[in-house]
């Protein structure tokens, strides 16, 4: 999901993590003990400078990926399922590579058409997106029933930025203080359908650079997931 960063107009920055979920029709949750393929989170975090530019931070990114991955493992385990980890970088060849790229295209399409940016008249009858039956090959390759994808992009304001914010506010001008947007996608690998999709905006207590924040963020994101 590296390619499309959308500011979702309907989500407002709030004190808690806000989420906006889409669920496919007639979804039956996986039975207990199902295996979830946890795809390594694709996260990139930056520092928002006083001038409003984003400086990528390798350390924050690495921390966030580790913390979110750990939190996801806990979440999956707590819903009495097992998980298998996969790093997409190792799976980009062959059919699995095509399915991962297809998921990126499907995810981008969901972001654009399901969250009000563009209408799609041929998709009016409920949330209906799929990777196709080829997803079964992922099920076989990894011995998994479902796949959970996580994607995050965002920045955190530097103290200089916060100071600028204070000054500008006094002048009656609001400036963005940084935000982190996450989305998760749950795919039923036996049918290829995207059964659940969630877009969230992290609140201040859900700072994924530390383990507790990542925990809080993942809890908010996974609440209501059909797992």
């Amino acid at each position: 999901m590296k390619r499309l960063l959308i500011v979702v107009a309907c989500l407002l920055a709030a004190a808690c993590t806000t989420t906006d979920t889409r669920t496919a029709l007639s979804v039956t949750p996986p039975p207990p003990g199902a295996t979830i393929l946890l795809v390594k989170p694709d996260i990139e975090l930056s520092l928002l400078t006083a001038a409003g530019l984003s400086e990528p931070r390798a350390d924050w990114t690495e921390q966030a990926v580790t913390n979110v991955e750990n939190a996801l493992e806990l979440s999956v385990a707590s819903s009495s399922h097992t998980f298998r980890l996969v790093d997409p970088a190792d799976a980009m060849q062959g059919r699995s590579g095509q399915l991962l790229r297809l998921h990126e295209a499907v995810g981008n399409s969901i972001l654009v058409f399901e969250y009000g940016l563009l209408p799609l008249p041929t998709h009016q009858a409920g949330f209906n997106w799929t990777l196709g039956e080829g997803a079964q090959s992922l099920a076989e390759q990894y011995g998994a029933d479902y796949a959970l994808f996580t994607f995050g992009r965002g920045n955190y304001a530097s103290s200089a930025r916060v100071a600028t914010f204070v000054v500008m506010s006094a002048l009656g001008v609001g400036i963005p203080l940084g935000n982190q947007q996450v989305f998760t996608s749950l795919v039923d690998l036996r049918t290829g359908r995207v059964v659940w999709f969630n877009v969230g905006l992290a609140g201040p207590s859900a700072d994924m650079r530390n383990p507790q924040g990542a925990q809080s963020l993942v809890e908010s994101m996974m609440k209501g997931a059909p797992l």
Binding site: K2, R3, L4, L5, E44, S46, T49, A51, L53, S54, E55, P56, R57, A58, D59, T61, E62, A89, M92, G97, R101, N108, R153
Partner: protein, 397 residues
């Protein structure tokens, strides 16, 4: 290096440096930055760009070609060779770029435009020069580079183009913008520095000193020959991503440097042998830029040594036929005809020749060419088109 960049470098947590290189003092080989630093952030971005290159449809992973190019890289990179990872991308523009983490892209447009190994070695050495002098870090520290790179990473230009029938291959503006390219926007001083390093290393590898000025000069000539006025009006660049041109000063400096060194090897035949299996495909891709006159200039240059004339004359025919200016169809016919004299002529040459002979009202020549095509192209899926043309011709006579 600027004082500010030097301060950043000093603040980096350096991994153990191995022996200093024999040539000028540069960054220590095996340098790895502190992930909390600005350079660490740049590396993170470059790592992701490298992943994209690995997964790209444009990647050319032909083992023999990769071995050859890596060999040339190592010839100029000496003890940095181990930390460089080369990715050959099938993209029809002159470009090579090297990220601070050792990830290097070499585009097919460059491989088509170098006339010999010495010229390729110079350009790769030039890029290595930017790497050795940490020029990208200096640019990265420039806030403008950040903002642009962030934009490029966030929204692929290609993604936007994908939604519409919008041409994303406009002259000089490419759909293939990567984080690497957006940062590689060096200053005049940096370009001159890199020229010098590229030259030094090329010569140290025993290669011909005049090759450096030669390839930059060719690039100027091709730019001046462009079909597109906007390209002609812009000065030639050492890479399609640069904004600082190949000035007369830079070329004169390289000429002067060459004067002070004895002759070296060019390795023309070895170079052409290395690129031969890819020549047809790269030329066809070059044509997709639709800069017909530049493509003709390139073809002419490639023909200078009398090698691969079947492929090259066929390609000339393709260019002229698609350009379709007054008189071009005759010229194209002549080119296809020439092509058929050579062993390496693609079989399509006879089909194209037949089609043009027919259009230019020589049905006998058309029939002869078509029959040869049918003899040679036994498994072509468009035989029926040529058979139909022949039948129509035979029934009308």
């Amino acid at each position: 290096m600027s004082r500010r960049a030097a301060a950043f470098v000093a603040g980096l947590l350096l991994a153990t440096a191995s022996a200093a290189p024999a040539l000028a003092q540069h960054r220590a080989p095996g340098l790895v930055p502190d992930p909390t630093s600005v350079e660490g952030g740049l590396w993170g971005v470059m790592e992701r760009a490298e992943q994209d290159a690995k997964n790209s449809a444009d990647l050319n992973d032909d083992p023999a070609l990769n071995d050859y190019v890596r060999g040339v890289v190592c010839r100029v990179a000496s003890d940095y060779c181990d930390e460089i990872r080369v990715y050959i991308m099938d993209r029809p523009y002159l470009n090579a770029s090297m990220a601070p983490n050792g990830y290097m892209e070499v585009w097919s447009g460059l491989l088509l435009r170098a006339e010999n190994e010495a010229q390729l070695a110079f350009v790769l050495g030039h890029e290595l020069g930017h790497f050795l002098e940490n020029h990208s870090l200096e640019r990265w520290n420039n806030q403008k580079a950040w903002a642009t790179a962030a934009l490029v990473i966030s929204v692929g230009a290609g993604a936007a183009g994908a939604y519409y029938g919008v041409d994303t291959s406009a002259i000089g503006d490419l759909a293939y913008l990567t984080a690497v390219a957006s940062v590689m926007n060096y200053s005049r001083t940096q370009e001159a520095q890199a020229d010098a390093i590229g030259f030094e290393r090329m010569v140290a590898a025993g290669l011909e000193p005049t090759a450096a000025a030669a390839i930059w000069r060719q690039q100027q000539a091709e730019t001046r020959a462009s079909s597109f006025r906007s390209v002609r009006q812009r000065e030639a660049m050492g890479s399609v991503f640069r904004t600082h041109p190949l000035t007369a000063e830079r070329i004169a400096a390289l000429d002067a440097m060459a004067q002070e060194h004895p002759g070296g090897l060019e390795e023309r035949e070895r170079y052409r042998a290395a690129i031969r299996p890819h020549l047809s495909a790269w030329l066809a891709e070059d044509l997709s830029r639709r800069d017909f006159n530049a493509s003709l200039a390139l073809t002419e240059r490639l023909e200078r040594d009398g090698l691969d004339l079947g492929v090259l004359e066929f390609h000339r025919g393709q260019i002229l036929r698609q350009r379709r200016d007054a008189g071009d169809l005759e010229l194209a016919r002549d080119a296809y005809r020439n092509a058929t004299e050579y062993e390496d002529a693609p079989v399509a040459a006879w089909r194209e020749l037949g089609d043009l002979e027919m259009r230019l009202e020589d049905p006998q020549a058309a029939a002869a060419a078509w029959r040869t095509y049918l003899d040679r192209a036994t498994t072509a899926d468009d035989r029926w088109i040529v058979e139909d043309s022949l039948t129509a011709l035979e029934t009308s006579s």
